[in-house]
Symmetry: C3
Subunit: 201 residues, 3 copies
């Protein structure tokens, strides 16, 4: 198992937790929490795979994903009183998660012959669509449309990652730089209270 | 036509009715009712077919489905004053519907080479996603996340059905047992007011 | 570039504007507006392509679409104070848009071997699903379920278009007649305040 695939599973785990917490806030039962955790964790990759015409969806046939996702339920329950204490590592892993989902989504799209612009869109799709599905299922206006420079961080990461490929930077270094850029933008956006201008019409 | 395919069409018909009734409650016009009836009846099978990578979606190219679904509109209208009288048979057919959708979804997924766990998830997907789409289109928090041990009955049915395959029980008998288990769980859940514990975080 | 493909891009552009305006009304930022404009413009064609089993999604790999869609953002911003003045041409282009999306969706579905009824459904899907996705993302009850004989105009257009094929009318003439019928029905529905009867159950 490579470091990348371990971090990818950590991203999946953290995404599942965000779905489960939202489900709990909405007073759903354990089954609802499992479905929403699942949808949050695999939604982005699934939509990407369908759009790029992949013959099979990543998580189908790979039991690691459901095991990781379902194990997020007892984990979230056990640490429920300490969730506030671990907000910072959760935030960090979540940001690493979207960085890695962006990278792996982009790599897959490039392998399917998409041009860099479309591949970047697919990378962002992998990272953000799970959260959009979570918010629709829970009847929230998707968070991504309202707060934080979340998707912008993904797009910038996709740009940096592609530049890394273009200038033939070593792949592992490229992973690290891209993830660093995504984390940097997101942290800066929160610390400096940056946000995109409203669309005024 | 086999008994299974007849029951499958009855399930489709009953699912369409549930979509049409929800549309009527939301004050939609006939077209809206038709679309929501359609989406409720074929949503689950469509998502399953997309996820398992089936080359064609079941209902595309089979006119039986739209005929059955569209005929649910005049039917629902004609019996509108007697719907309360037929709540029990509707409930029964609905439960038979989710049992059969679970079974047929699972069989298709197994035929596509999915492992039993994933096939069970796909069986449940076939049975419940139509209702989730109906509720999203009508801006309700999906019923399945709030009430009745609905999806749990599907999952238990999937488990029983797989055990039946494993122990090489005759297929028709396996259908009957599985459907019985799903009906039993759902009826018991309502009579005994069972529900899954809330996810508390 | 044919006249049809130019009108198709105008339709895409107008659909994107409708998404962007809705996003602005919901107080979203520029990124949210871009995503919702994109989803509105390409949603219908994407769902159609997935349902008919097309190997690739139309807009993936064709940079014209994102360029047209993204250019709708500065355009909408620049003319924001004059949007009321151009409501009539916007309405006209929107109606031409749904007519052309219906036609092109139907042609693609027929080319994939669907029967005329299913091809008509796929034509309507191409025309209306983008707006449904826009409304779900913005937490509105889909407009199409509440107002205007919108989808009915698409279905009538699909019927006329198929009759044109059946009676071997010249293709360009068939385009013009179909678009005229769709525009006529929609204008008549608004002028005469026509609407479909409510589904009363």
């Amino acid at each position: 198992m490579t470091i990348i695939s371990i971090l990818d599973l950590i991203g999946t785990f953290v995404f599942a937790i965000s779905g489960i917490r939202m489900a709990a806030k909405k007073d759903l039962d354990i089954f609802g929490a499992a479905v929403i955790g699942f949808a949050t964790a695999i939604g982005g990759g699934t939509v990407r795979d369908i759009l790029i015409g992949s013959e099979s969806i990543t998580w189908i046939g790979d039991m690691t994903y459901p095991i990781v996702i379902l194990s997020a339920i007892p984990f979230t329950y056990v640490i429920r009183n300490r969730l506030d204490d671990i907000n910072k590592p959760l935030f960090l892993f979540d940001t690493i998660g979207i960085a890695l989902f962006t990278i792996s989504g982009m790599e897959k799209a490039l392998a399917f012959g998409l041009n860099p612009f479309m591949a970047g869109i697919m990378g962002m799709t992998s990272a953000v669509v799970g959260g959009i599905i979570r918010d629709i299922l829970c009847r929230e206006v998707p968070l991504i449309f309202r707060k934080e420079i979340y998707a912008t961080a993904c797009l910038m990461g996709a740009l940096i990652f592609y530049l890394g490929i273009y200038f033939e930077i070593a792949t592992n270094l490229n992973y690290v730089i891209t993830t660093g850029v995504v984390i940097g933008i997101r942290v800066a956006a929160i610390k400096l209270d940056l946000s995109l201008p409203k669309m005024k019409v």
